[in-house]
């Protein structure tokens, strides 16, 4: 099967031919961790993403642009120099990335960090990708004009329809395979063998929650509450509430009467934001929300359901420990009030990723995370930051994962 070469743009190519092209030594020698040739390319690319025309059209690309600024890159690299002089860090080799189809930009983070680590990379861009992903590919190709030849000699992005033979060829050749996109994808791709020394870095299905302190809510100014709701809106509605980090269940922690008042105010503020942003929910999505909330009620998971227009559905969970983790439709929030933050502990599972929080002290949150003891929850972030990508993701420090260590103890 022929692969469509997206970056660098080029004629269709077979997988084997592409792999052969990646085996030669690049001009100027093999890539190092934090290689200047790559940094220079990434920063040029970042500038293109931050260009007003691009950033206006795809705000998510502006976030990506910020992530790849020179100072940010330097910060990420600085975290790597943690070993003593006897420990030397090198790229893993060839990294094969399989990103999800629907979150347009995650493949860029995954790839950019791996390139920064000095790896040769093959990225499969889904044939269904559109919009922002296309803009990314354009920006990458434009940035090539000033790039060192080593960039095209080591970095490739291709598009192909699902084809196990191609995926198997890339898998067999790679030193590290990065699989995004949920349990099913991970299981499917894992059937294809890696070389004995190679390994997978997987990003399976995750669930995320929002947690609000009743005391914190009461103590917050009207302005701060409004800001929190805007942040919550961004976290939830940006990716149709379907991203791994989008909050699903909303916990209120504290006195239940005060929580009831807080919830009512929160709902009103959210309705105002939805109206102000002109959030439109398609009829099919509205029906989907009915199907899933009615289903939760039918199963005894929810005791009451409320619809404030098509954009906002809330339901009361019957048990604080029986959470609804699956996607219920854009703007559908199971809610539950618990007395103490510690009450979350029995509810949390390994697959739970992000807590977006409002109104807690850092000590309270560190206490919670310690009580969880690594059993679940990989990140705790303030409202409005749930979707902000970080170089530490799902519990992995990606630059560490993308590199390997050699020790010289002589």
């Amino acid at each position: 099967m022929k692969l469509r070469q997206r970056f660098p743009a080029g004629a269709d190519i077979e997988a084997d031919a592409l792999l052969a092209e990646l085996t030669g030594e690049p001009d100027g020698g093999p890539l190092k961790v934090g290689d200047e040739r790559i940094i220079s390319f990434l920063t040029t690319f970042a500038r293109k993403l931050l260009a007003p025309a691009v950033a206006r059209r795809y705000p998510e690309l502006a976030s990506l642009g910020f992530f790849l600024r020179k100072a940010e890159i330097a910060k990420a690299l600085a975290r790597l120099s943690d070993g003593d002089a006897s420990t030397l860090r090198f790229p893993r080799g060839l990294v094969f990335h399989i990103p999800p189809a629907n979150v347009d930009t995650i493949f860029v983070y995954s790839w950019a960090l791996s390139a920064l680590a000095g790896n040769r990379n093959v990225v499969r861009i889904s044939p269904r990708s559109a919009g922002a992903a296309e803009a990314v590919v354009d920006a990458l190709n434009e940035a090539l004009a000033d790039a060192h030849p080593a960039v095209v000699q080591t970095q490739r992005m291709v598009t192909y329809d699902r084809d196990d033979a191609v995926t198997a060829a890339f898998s067999a050749a790679s030193d590290l395979r990065v699989i995004w996109g949920g349990d099913r994808s991970v299981n499917e791709v894992r059937k294809l063998a890696l070389a004995p020394h190679a390994r997978d870095l997987t990003f399976p299905d995750r669930a995320s929650f929002a947690v609000i302190s009743v005391d914190g809510w009461q103590a917050a100014s009207a302005e701060a509450r409004k800001e929190a709701v805007v942040g919550f809106y961004n976290d939830s509605y940006w990716f149709d509430q379907a991203a791994c980090s989008s909050p699903r269940v909303v916990f209120w922690v504290g006195d239940s009467d005060a929580a009831a008042r807080g919830r009512e105010e929160f709902r009103q503020l959210l309705a105002e934001v939805l109206a102000a942003r002109g959030e439109v929910i398609e009829p099919a999505m509205a029906v989907q929300k009915r199907v899933s909330t009615y289903g939760a009620a039918a199963d005894g998971l929810a005791t009451s359901i409320r619809f404030d227009g098509n954009a906002l559905a809330t339901m009361e969970l019957a048990e604080p420990t029986t959470l609804v983790r699956e996607w219920l439709g854009t703007g559908t929030f199971p809610q539950v009030t618990v007395d103490r933050l510690a009450d979350l502990v029995p509810a949390i599972q390994r697959k739970d990723q992000t807590l977006s929080v409002f109104g807690f002290s850092r000590d309270e949150l560190v206490g919670l995370v310690k009580a969880l003891a690594g059993r679940g929850i990989d990140r705790v972030v303030p409202f409005g930051s749930a979707l902000t990508f970080s170089a530490i993701w799902d519990g992995f420090d990606l630059l560490h994962e993308f590199t390997r260590l050699t020790t010289v103890s002589v």
Binding site: S126, I179, G182, Q241, P283, V287, V291, A298, M315, G329
Partner: protein, 352 residues
């Protein structure tokens, strides 16, 4: 003759509302998941409703993900399944003996309005293999088999290899073409395998009564809509008695039938329809498209008496057509809700 299309809208409201309210209570008492849903929506037991449109509805897709039945397990006589066209999973519809009998009886009574009291010779515009292979029983097969009981001397218009069997059709017409006969098939098959063949071979279908269903989507690229369908059948084959119908397995036995003059579907006296605004979910006025809710007093063994479909439709009028009550058209399906999410590198529908 129109024994089941007689109630004006006011009479229908007055007759059906108490029955539907009783059915709602019946299902609450006998189907726990249904009771939980209504409870969660804040609808208390014994609630009285001001109008049929005020009754709580279930999304039809609920039957794909949940076992909703109002009869004990040991009284389940038949389980109907259909994958429909909305993708994942199949609806499961539970019938006890009484419900199974009632649905056949009421469907028969509905069709009698246009077929008359006698069983007519029947031309099936489908392949005989659709009902032969019972193990892979499809919704289409179920439809064909269900309809077959309303005719006699069945002849299939397609052979076992899905090829038009012109000789079979000619033979049928030679035998039965001079008396009223029944034609049944899915809309696109009727067009592709009966209209085209009849036109090519100058077949006379003027004594036929065509009952068809299934939607126009597959005929859009041929620029055939209901009006064109009726016009060309009349001009080229003499067939004028054409009745499209709308129905679904989740309300088995209830069909909304096109009137003699065409282009409007009517509700039998035990059924009704509400077109809802997809933003407010209020009832739409005449002429405003919306989501179709179908209402029937038939479903007693499962809570399917008030269902929100995933079809779009429009009301054309009330008490002003061939038959009394509301008249409407189906405009197509709601597009499927898709989310942008992390978890679908290789998920369904894009395997190609």
């Amino acid at each position: 003759m129109t024994a089941l299309f007689e109630l004006s809208q006011a009479q229908r409201e007055a007759t059906l509302l108490p029955q539907l309210t009783e059915l709602t209570e019946h299902h609450r008492a006998h189907c726990e998941p249904y009771e939980r849903i209504l409870g969660a929506l804040g609808i208390e037991r014994g609630r009285q409703f001001g109008a049929i449109a005020d009754l709580p509805w279930l999304p039809v897709r609920m039957f794909k993900n949940h076992d909703l039945k109002s009869v004990p397990d040991d009284e389940v006589f038949k389980v109907l399944t259909s994958s429909g066209t909305t993708g994942s999973g199949a609806s499961r519809i539970y019938l006890d003996k009484e419900a199974a009998g009632a649905q056949t009886r009421q469907l028969g009574a509905t069709l009698q309005t246009v077929l008359g009291g006698k069983r007519l010779p029947m031309l099936m515009v489908d392949t005989v293999s659709i009902i032969k292979n019972r193990r892979s029983f499809s919704a289409r097969g179920a439809g064909v088999l269900g309809m077959a009981t309303f005719g006699r001397n069945h002849v299939y218009a397609l052979d076992e290899n899905d090829q038009p069997d012109v000789e079979a059709v000619k033979g049928f017409l030679a035998k039965h073409g001079n008396e009223p006969f029944l034609i049944f098939g899915f809309t696109f098959m009727v067009w592709l395998y009966l209209y085209e063949v009849a036109k090519e071979h100058n077949l006379d279908l003027s004594n036929g009564i065509l009952i068809h269903s299934g939607g126009w989507k597959k005929l859009i690229d041929r620029a055939v809509d209901n009006t064109e369908f009726r016009r060309r059948f009349a001009e080229d084959t003499g067939l004028t008695r054409i009745h499209n119908y709308y129905g679904m397995i989740e309300q088995i036995g209830t069909v909304f039938l096109e009137g003699p003059s065409g282009n409007s579907l009517y509700c039998p006296d035990f059924a009704d329809v509400v077109i809802r605004n997809p933003e407010t979910w209020e009832e739409q006025p005449i002429g405003e498209p919306g989501v179709i809710e179908v209402i029937s007093t038939l479903p007693r063994s499962y809570p399917g008496h008030v269902l929100l479909t995933e079809d779009l439709g429009v009301l054309h009028g009330i008490d002003d057509g061939d038959w009394p009550g509301k008249r409407f058209s189906v405009l197509g399906r709601l597009p499927r809700a898709e989310a942008r999410g992390c978890s679908d590198t290789f998920s369904g529908g894009q395997a190609a």
